[in-house]
């Protein structure tokens, strides 16, 4: 069972930019819009919800429990507290009302990447989403475009496979002599890869991507971003970089991206994913690699 049929928010229909020029400015605009969006889009006066209850509609499904084999939404009313997040509300609903309500979560601080859900129609981390910023009732669904295992838990295996497909490990063999001698890296170079290293493997980007939804072999934004981290790190030799670009420019690699920016929009760590993909396309062109 899958949630592939979920409606996609229409904000994803950004025009493709075939020449890849000016990719930075739409990127910038997107990020700004995203910030404004957070402030305005669903701003709800906190006094509206204080002391009241939070109305949740949560997707339920279990392949082996009768009554849950047909997907349905369950409603929960949870007492509101200042600072409450969607994850807090789910935990309350589970611990107080229904112990079978199932979702992944661990750190509660947006670093473990376990609790990406489809909340009011977009991919967000439950722990990082304030109830006070959402319209009610709050719809909480599993990430679209992935098989649902149970309730809000999706099968992440495909996501992990794609992450592993880009050889996600440092491959420099020629290291400085001496156990205590480090490789040198310019501050600028470290700064360049900084945002790419913040990925927490939550899968929000992959779930938001229409291309990934249609092409199961597409590496997807997270895996390409992981490769970007290595490809742009000056500590790896040119030879390895070329090897990396060959992995990325294959049929289901960077050229599949149509710069819709949906991944960048949902990334809870604000990684400029689309820009990273664009940059890798430019690198591939520079290196004169095959253009699909």
């Amino acid at each position: 069972m899958s949630t592939q049929q979920q409606e996609q928010p229409d904000t994803q229909e950004a025009p493709a930019d075939p020449e890849m020029k000016g990719a930075e400015s739409p990127q910038q605009e997107r990020l700004e819009k995203k910030e404004q969006g957070l402030a305005e889009a669903e701003s709800v006066d906190e006094s509206d919800v204080e002391g009241e209850s939070v109305h949740l509609k949560v997707f339920r499904y279990d392949p082996e429990v009768s009554g849950k084999q047909e997907p349905r939404f369950d409603e929960f009313h949870v007492p509101f507290e200042k600072g409450m997040t969607v994850l807090d509300a789910l935990i309350f609903a589970r611990d107080e009302f229904d112990s079978s309500l199932t979702f992944r979560h661990s750190c509660r601080q947006a670093i473990c990447g376990s609790d990406a859900f489809f909340i009011n129609g977009s991919q967000r981390l439950g722990c990082k989403t304030q109830i006070s910023a959402l319209q009610q009732p709050i719809r909480v669904e599993p990430l679209p475009h992935q098989e649902v295992v149970k309730d809000l838990v999706v099968d992440m295996d495909h996501f992990y496979d794609q992450m592993h497909a880009v050889e996600p490990y440092f491959q420099q063999e020629d290291l400085p002599e001496g156990e205590l001698e480090e490789q040198r890296q310019d501050r600028e170079n470290r700064e360049k890869v900084k945002m790419s290293t913040r990925c927490i493997w939550c899968g929000a980007c992959m779930s938001s991507c229409n291309i990934a939804a249609g092409d199961n072999q597409y590496l997807g934004p997270a895996a390409i971003n992981k490769a970007y981290k290595f490809a742009m790190d000056e500590r790896e030799d040119e030879e390895i970089k070329e090897h990396r670009l060959r992995i990325l420019e294959q049929e289901h690699g960077v050229w599949r991206c149509q710069t819709q920016f949906s991944c960048t929009e949902v990334c809870p760590k604000d990684i400029p994913l689309t820009e990273h993909i664009q940059e890798l396309k430019r690198e591939a062109v520079k290196k004169n690699l095959k253009f699909w």
Partner: protein
Amino acid sequence: MYEHDVIVVGAGGAGLRAAVAAHEAGADVAMVTKLHPVRSHTGAAEGGINAALREGDDWELHAYDTMKGSDYLGDAPAVETLAQDAPEETISLEHWGMPFSREDDGRVSQRPFGGLSFPRTTYAGAETGHHLLHTMYEQVVKRGIQVYDEWYVMNLATSDEPDPNDRTCHGVVAYDVQSGTVEGFKANDGVILATGGPGQAFDHTTNAVSCTGDGHAMAYRAGVPLEDMEFIQFHPTTLPSTGVLLSEGVRGEGGILYNDEGERFMFEYGYANNDGELASRDVVARAELTEVSEGRGVEDEYVHLDMRHLGEERIIDRLENILHLAEDFEGADGLVEPMPVKPGQHYAMGGIETDENGATCVDGLYAAGECACVSVHGANRLGGNALPELIVFGKRAGYHAAGGDLGEAEIDTGYTDSVEDEDDTEFPVQPGSAGLEPTGDDVAADGSGQVADANGVLERAVETESERIDRLMNKDDGVQHAEIRSKLQKAMTDYVNVFRTEEGIKQALEVIRECREEYRDVYVADPSTTFNTDLQMTYETRNLIDVAETIALGALVRNEFRGAHWRQENQIRDDENWLKHTLVSWNGGKPSIWYRPVLLEGEDKTYEPKERSY
């Protein structure tokens, strides 16, 4: 049944490092972990990795600082091993591509941290743990090490000789969360526990929901003593609703703490007239709770941390992540209002007793990382010393388990007749499971010595866990884990927090006993074998009961004030009586407490306890 040479339980920094080391030593390694490795709580560490890398610094200074910070309860061989091995291990991470912050000359950056005589905290932005975790996982992927992720380890498969020192661990029993299958995992050479901290024993903690002390509890019931469990570090600035930590950096930059009356209480009430907000963590935490208990807390719960006077520019420049944390997790805007903070459980210095090779007294059983007590942190951990512990002792445990030679350990493990026994503390209630109707699964090893061969031990362990699952799933009503867990957590925070009194701790022990009794009636309501977190959390709750009890027992017997442990009845560090580790043995369900002297003899010097003046 699965079979490997070395089984690593848990896949945070210590587990991943152990797996790589065992693999490099030629072993067939598998990791069995309830979370996918990148979800592990190592990822939340912000600060950095202490390592003496630079000219002007050396490992002896690092060792000295660590021993002083431990309030002279660290064991010198462990402390010196940490300081000696940390530089090489840190540079290994760099060679594996970890994105450390850099200096102008391209070398890795280091910064000053509290309690350090040299700025040796090597960091990668404010997310050092995240980068360490991901870099180590990359190395595991590179080597093709098998990872059984979302497999919950329910118990160890340990032989059952009467004396724990004679027992052998042959593997583990685990449950595939996704399918509900129970399997034995046979370990030919060793099992390494790297299961992290037990922070969920408290209701307000910076630890992840997954930090439930599973490794602690399993080792404990198999006969391995838990060491110095009373030493829990509380962080003074955590957000009240979630426990998310606001780094010391806010106070370092000039952030001020106020009570509800707008008083700068650190000075106003003389908690720290010299250092004010920058006094050590335990001093600030006690000050905050005193304000609340004396009626000057905000909403009777927390105090305010104000950084508005620093100005928007400086805040955005240096403390931007703090703004996001307060906004995302507490709904507070640090630019326009003070941020609510209160003390929260942060780190456990104690844990599974090991020597400096990671070995426990049970043959074939190892522990590394926060779940272990080597002991390097003693009564208090320095900032920046948790991450080097993971990689230094993770590596040693992995290498040793795979048959590598690290020489004879200097630290002893296991109860012997020569150690000192506790005999005069009165417990308000019987700890452990003694006196309760036996359920047959309170002991991993029942001491009957009946089953000795590895396969037999594993088969019996699998059978026991399968029966336990059936019992929990087939029961139709009773108590649910969430109720017991929250009662336990509340009691620990009420009575075994930063302020500890004999009376309070005894009350905690009574509540823990009630939780244990109620747990006899626990049931799992979710009938599904697919991703049954209800069942998993029910298992975790039992582990928390055992671990919480050892924390309370240690806190009750140790009547002194050392490091993070404060006792109202004796507010001095009592070196005459307490230069010794507290050990709690499960003892077949009837816990016993005993002591081992701290080792202050280093390689070529003795660490003389000096008065605490910070």
